[in-house]
């Protein structure tokens, strides 16, 4: 479904990613793990068209998305829920969700999607008219995911969805991701939280210094000493 090959990208003249290879098949939940600064966010942003690639290819369902920008990625069905949530702070929950589906492709289906999002996160329905900035971190993460879903993704990419959340909120967020995946949504997940992300995913990639250093079934990766090494005992 998603195929990244030989990808090089970075900021200005500094390359962060080096020769990255990554695949996601339909229906999978794939984890990308690595320490802070490994390049996970850069990879997610490059796939989503926010950071330009300087070499390599990104194809999605057969069409080449390399260097085509964020609008084209959304059009194809790739939606990134960014690190730090990035909800629109001075807008209400409802306005944030409407914006999630403002692209011409999902726009005609916004009312139906809104219902599904409210079913998945009833708390968002309760806070419909509340400004995003006034909500807790966990609620903002729900909103960010809900906003991503409004774009009717075929591939949902999440960057550090558990960052800064209370254990209870982490559970709730991951419960929602599991449910979405069980309903058939393809998910790519970047996390520093190795244990958690390898527990929910089927396959995983380990990133270090802008390179993929290890890949395999998540169950095996979790017990691979090399993964541990990449984490200096963080597992």
């Amino acid at each position: 479904m998603l195929e990244v090959s030989g990808l090089v990208s970075g900021y200005g003249r500094i390359s962060i990613l080096r020769d990255v290879e990554l695949r996601v098949e339909p229906g999978e939940l794939v984890a990308l793990v690595g320490v802070n600064g490994a390049g996970k966010t850069t990879l997610m942003k490059t796939i989503a068209g926010l950071v330009p690639a300087s070499a390599g290819r990104i194809t999605f369902e057969g069409s080449d998305l390399t260097g085509r920008g964020a609008e084209r990625a959304v059009d194809a069905g790739i939606v990134l829920v960014p690190e730090g949530r990035m909800v629109f702070p001075r807008m209400t929950v409802w306005e944030n969700l409407m914006l999630g589906g403002v692209h011409p492709r999902p726009r005609p289906h916004r009312e139906a999607m809104l219902k599904r999002v409210f079913d998945l996160f009833p708390r968002l329905a309760e806070r419909r008219d509340q400004k995003a900035a006034t909500m807790s971190g966990g609620e903002q993460q729900m909103l960010a995911i809900g906003r991503g879903l409004m774009a009717q993704p075929r591939l949902l990419i999440l960057d550090e969805p558990s960052l800064g959340l209370s254990p209870l909120m982490v559970q709730e967020t991951y419960g929602a991701l599991r449910r979405l995946n069980a309903e058939g949504l393809t998910i790519l997940l970047a996390e520093q939280n190795v244990k958690l992300s390898l527990a929910v995913s089927g396959r995983g990639y380990v990133m270090e210094n802008g390179r993929i250093v290890l890949t395999g079934a998540s169950g095996e990766l979790a017990h691979d000493p090399a993964t541990r090494k990449a984490y200096l005992g963080r597992l």
């Binding site: 059009d75 939606v79 629109f88 702070p89 001075r90 914006l99 692209h103």
Partner: protein
């Protein structure tokens, strides 16, 4: 000082305030989508006034009839200008953008000087020198029409910004540009449209209030200053703030002119700006 005179000054202040609010709101619109401080703001309005004057001299077209025409012309001008000039320069930073608009000031002022000379010009309209008496008030028709239109346009623009998909996209870009891009919002296009609408509103407002002004090539500066003062007083980039500050400054200026003379009145916008910034450094409705 009789109550009637105070009432008269207040009404006149409200009318000026509505015009200030509109000019500042369009400046805020332009600022909000890309951080561009448009120092040529008033000069675009002056250009529109001269345009109305030229149409009158060439075809005896009344300024009020020219206004809608100027709206579409300026909308297009703004859109094209943004795409081909502002956007590439703004990519180098907001400072470069501000320098560009300063450059536009000199280009427009000298263009007006070249085309129409430096003489003071009045543009007659169907409403010039007519008053509406609603005892105890006497209101000049041009100010009444200009301010009512400004109030209507301000309200329409406000509703568009707050209640439509276009407005939500504008605010999304203001609040988090990267996140907006991630929704598939075509940031450059929305910015160009916002800039176009901001300039278009000046094209519309200029002819609507031309009867109250004497045209001179450098007149734009006064409008720019008042728009800047109102925008900063209300809170940079805050639409509600611009509207509220426009009305407050218009009314205070008018009342102060009446009570203490025109010199004091002219100082009032600056005094209000200073006071507000002293106690609320981010403006009346500014956040952070």
């Amino acid at each position: 000082m009789s109550g009637e005179v105070l009432l008269q000054a207040t009404v006149q202040g409200l009318q000026m305030g509505a015009i200030y609010a509109l000019i500042a709101l369009s400046m805020t619109l332009i600022f909000s989508v890309g951080g561009l401080l448009n120092f040529a703001h008033g000069d675009f309005m002056a250009l529109a006034m001269y345009g109305a004057m030229a149409l009158y001299q060439a075809f005896r077209m009344d300024a009020y009839a020219a206004a809608p025409l100027m709206f579409f012309l300026f909308l297009l001008l703004g859109f094209v200008l943004f795409r081909h000039l502002v956007q590439p320069v703004l990519a180098a930073g907001v400072l470069a953008g501000a320098q560009l608009t300063l450059g536009l000031v000199f280009i427009q002022e000298n263009l007006l000087l070249l085309l129409f000379g430096g003489d003071y010009i009045n543009v007659p309209t169907v409403l010039s020198n007519r008053n509406l008496g609603v005892p105890p008030l006497v209101m000049p028709w041009p100010l009444l029409v200009g301010s009512v239109l400004a109030a209507v346009l301000t309200a329409v623009l406000y509703v568009v910004l707050m209640r439509t998909d276009f407005g939500r996209q504008v605010r999304a870009i203001t609040q988090n540009r990267d996140a907006a891009a991630l929704m598939g919002i075509r940031v450059g296009r929305i910015q160009a449209l916002a800039f176009g609408i901001g300039i278009g509103l000046l094209g519309l407002t200029g002819p609507m209030i031309v009867a109250q002004f004497t045209l001179t090539p450098a007149m734009g500066l006064d409008f720019t200053l008042i728009a800047l003062i109102v925008m900063v007083t209300g809170g940079l980039g805050n639409f509600t703030g611009s509207m509220v500050a426009g009305v407050i400054i218009g009314v205070s200026e008018s009342l102060a002119s009446l009570l203490y003379g025109g010199t004091v009145g002219a100082m009032i916008p600056y005094a209000i700006l200073l006071l507000v910034l002293l106690f609320r450094p981010h403006g009346l409705m500014g956040e952070h």
